[in-house]
Structure formats: structure tokens, C-alpha cells
Amino acid sequence: MQDAAQYTLDENSADGTRLVLSGKVTLANIAPLERELKRLSAPIRTVDLAAVDEIDTVGAWVVCRVAHEHNCDITGASPAAERLLSAVRDIDASGDTRPLRAPVWERVPVAVGEKVYATRSGIYGVVGFFGQILIGGVSLARHPLRFPIRALVHQMELVGVTALPIIGLMSFLIGIVIAQQGSVQLEQFGAESLTVNLVGRITLRELGVLMTAIMVAGRSGSAFAAQLGTMKLTEEIDAMRTIGISPIEVLVIPRILAATFMMVLLGFYASIMAIIGGAVVGDLTLGIPFWTFLARIQEVVPEHDLWVGLIKAPVFGLIVALAGCYNGLQVRGNSEEVGRRTTMAVVSAIFAVIVIDAFFAVFFTEIGWG
């Protein structure tokens, strides 16, 4: 390969060992040459570039490095090569292209400490954020003309209406599974007819609202975080502040209200769809006619089960929207952060929803709504 960069050592020249480079000393050919030059241990007095056909800054850089290591002269450079050499000669490029990293035994405790500290400031942050929203809400209540009604309606459509198909299908299938699996178990006690109680109570009290909250967190909580995070990155939110528009009022409050309100409707809708799913199974496999199943629901499900679900729903909606908006507004720096914060919004929302659901379960049983 005549194009390749080559070297020869001329040990018989007058002024000590001479390193003669030839061929194309360019980025495309440099890798093998560079490795071999590194291994040269004999002292070199001069580097001769007279036989070089082509050289670029990378070639010039490697030549300068050899010259520097052996403390020798460079001869035979063409005017063009000389220009390149002088451009890179005085640059000190030792060092790393990444920020320095501490050793692992320092990094792990530091990371744990930072996590703990971040949790604390995260709690402060969420509480502070909630406070900002209350203040924004009060100021909107004082100036109702400023209320972003269009944004609210738009968000309600996004959070609620467009979620109807997926939440309906999901709940319908869950109703089918509960009725079918439940009836298999209850059959062993000869209590298949209690499938109606099982489906009606579990969907209205727990699953309808809980599954809807998880779905809304995945659909809308993540969308809130990603939207607000991107707006933060592109300085849209800063632009709003400088114009005197409160991002809390125009961005956060419509989303929070929409999610809170739509969760109630969606949770109720999900429960109804699950009961219909159960009724279909009842009709097909248990021999309970469809309309009889629905009529039995009214007899066996106490009214307070409905209230349990409907009281939890807005709280879950609020949590999902808070987590989404808070994490979105915390985005700083780069696009990776948007992804990280979106994940955090969904995960923390679902976790908080399940924890609070557990508290609700105990609470409602204690007050006699068991």
C-alpha cells in the first residue's frame, strides 16, 4: 500500500539517528504509525519530513509529539507542512476530555448522600410548589377574567376525552378477568352468584380508580413533564416570566384542574366499564342474564362504595398532575434531563398513588364504610 504512512530509521547520518517519515501522514493512515512511533525507544535526533506526500493537522500533531518526546528537530517540512506544524506546536493537549471522576469508594457514599439530600429538598420543593399553586389559585380567584379557560378545556380534552377508548377497553378487560377468575374460585364454595358482589365492589372501591390513575400517570403525567421540561429548555418559561405571565397560572393550574376533575369522571367511567365486562362474563359463562347482573349490582353494592371511589379519584388526579408539572419544571440543562424527569414523574406518581390508596383503605374501613 503506497498510500500508507511509513517510517525508517537512518542511524548513519552525521547528527545521530534520523527518523524519516514518508507517504501520507494523515488521519486516515495515522493509527498504525502512531502506535509504532510510541514504541520507539532509541533516541532520535531529527525528524525528516522531506519524503512526506501529504500531511494534515493530525499528522503534524503526531510529528510534534515525537519531536517533543525525543527533544529533537524537525527538518525537510514543506511550507504547507510548516504552517500546520506551527499551528499545533505550542498546544498542550495532555489531560482528559471528561470531567475528572472520583474513585468508586468516594463516589458511592457521595452519591448516597446526595440522594438523601435530594429527597429532602425534593420534599421541600413539592410542598413549595403546592404553595405556589395555591397562591396562583387565589390570585386567579380574585381576578376571574384572567382564568385560562381555553387552556383548561384543551387539557380536559387531552387528559379526559382522548383517554376514553384506552381506559374503557382496559377496564372492560379487567372486569372480564375478575369475573372469570373470581367465579372459578367462588365455584368451589358453590357461591358463583357472589361474583356480582366481587366485581361490583372491587371495581367501584379500588380497581376502577386505581387503574385509571396509573393509566393517567402514564399518559398525561408523562406528557406534562415532557412538555413543561422542553419549554423550560427552550426558555419559553423564562420568556413568560419576563412578560409578566405566571407559568403557574397559565401552564400548571389548567393541567392540575383538568387532571383532578377528569380523574373523577374517568374513574367512574372505568368502574362502569369493568362492571359491564363482568356482566358479559356473567351472561356467557355463569348463566346470569346481563340485565339481571346489573340489577343485582344495585342491590349488593352499598352506596358508600361509590363514594369511596369518587373521593379517592380527585386526590389521585392531583398527585399525578403535581408530579408531572413539578418534575417538568425541574428540568435543567439538557435533553437527557427531560427523559429522566419524565420517568421520575410517572414512577413517583404511581408510587404515591398506591401508598395513599393504602391509607384510604384503612381510613374508610375505620369509619365504617367497609
Partner: protein, 272 residues
Amino acid sequence: MPMTDHPEDLAPPIVIEGLVNRFGDFTVHEGLDLTVQRGEILGVVGGSGSGKSVLMRSIIGLQRPSAGRIDVLGRTITELDLEQGIGVRRRWGVLFQGGALFSTLTVGENVEVPLRKYYPNLSSELRHEIARYKVILTGLPESAVAKYPSELSGGMRKRAGLARALALDPELLFLDEPTAGLDPIGAANFDRLTRELKETLGLTVFLITHDLDTLYEICDRVAVIADKKIIGVGTIPELIATGHPWIEEYFNGPRGRAAQASHQRHHVADGG
């Protein structure tokens, strides 16, 4: 790469013939012809929306033209598929308007990206060194190498973008409004840097700009886009001599005159 003896390397690096770009019913270019000579800095000017950026995107293969032929470094871009494009792509560097640095990598790692892609057999030590000297060559402080783009100012980001564009020692450099958004001192420094790099590295530079000072100070020739084609290419006096009303207004408006006056002052000072 200054020392070359391939016949194709002596041909003009960019030749555009009959370029047509249409977006739906909207025609941006209609029969546009342009030749960029080896070793020159060609400034491209035109009103907002006249299709300067679309022209650049067509040349570097990001925008497939509706018709016409574009030859870059002896290859016909309009006919290349992705695989064949790689050979040409490693011979040019592009600086996008905002720098377009990869935000999750440090400045040094950004410069290493093209090196990793095209020359995976480089030793990592040499690759780090190349990244570092390129960054320093573009006038950034050494400390900027290990920083993330979000930690840099707009001007520094442009320099870092330039360092990445120069990573492979390209023959051809595309700059999209390199001085937009820089302070006058920063812009003048960037102009000087472009000129120096062109002279040391023997680059051909395709430069889109609105900056009249840049046009006067560093461009060898200027191409004017208007009415969907190139209405004139040449030195600024040659362009003004054509008497086209848009060119007239562009260079003889108040800003044009100011830039010209400052250019002449500098030259008198340099001569004396």
C-alpha cells in the same frame, strides 16, 4: 489538506447545476447554478427566507432536491445513497447555526464522535489528544474541553461546534451564520479564526451569513440568492457593478456603507 496531487482534487469542490427545491406548491430554488472554487471562502447572502439554509442542506445531502445535480468533491450527492455518502462525508465539516452539539457529551467527546465513527482504530490516547488540540485551536480555553455544552456561552458553543466540524481535517467547511448572535469582538475574532484556519489548513469554506463585516473582511467571493436563483457571484465591487437593485440596496444601504468604511479604515491602517 494542502498537499494533494489527485486530478479530481483540482476540480471545483462544489458544482451545482439546475437545482430545484420545492415544498409542496412553494418553490425555493428554480434552476439554481453555483460553482465554489477550491481554496476560497464563498459567502452566501440573501434575504430571510430566500433559501440559503435550504441550499446548504441540499449540498450536504440533508434535503433531497426536486431536480438538478449537485457534485461535491467529485461525487454526485444527488445520486449517492447513504453508504456511498460516507466517503464524501468524512471530507467535509458542518457548523450548524446553534452549534448543534450533542448535549449529553462533553465538548471534547463531541469532537471525538466523528473520529470514533470513521477511524475506530485510533488509539484512545491519540483521539483524546486530537479532540483537545482541535478545541484549543478554535480558541477555547483548555478548561472547556471537559465541560458540557449547557455550561458554555453561545459564542463558546459555536467555537466548540467548529472544533467538531474540523475534527476530521476536512477539505470543505460549511458554516451557517457563524457570527450571528456573537458580540462584535467575538464576531471579529471568529472571522479571523475562519480566515486563519482556511489559510493554514487549505480549506474551502461555504459560509452563509448576514454579517456585512464578515463579507468584507474574509470572503473571497460572495454569491447572492434572490428570485429563487443565484443572481450574482463575485467580489463585492463586481457585484455592486452589476447594478441589480437588491444587491445595490444590500451593499449600499446604511449598514453596508458602514461595513465598507470600516473595512477600508482597517486596510489603510494595515498598509501604514
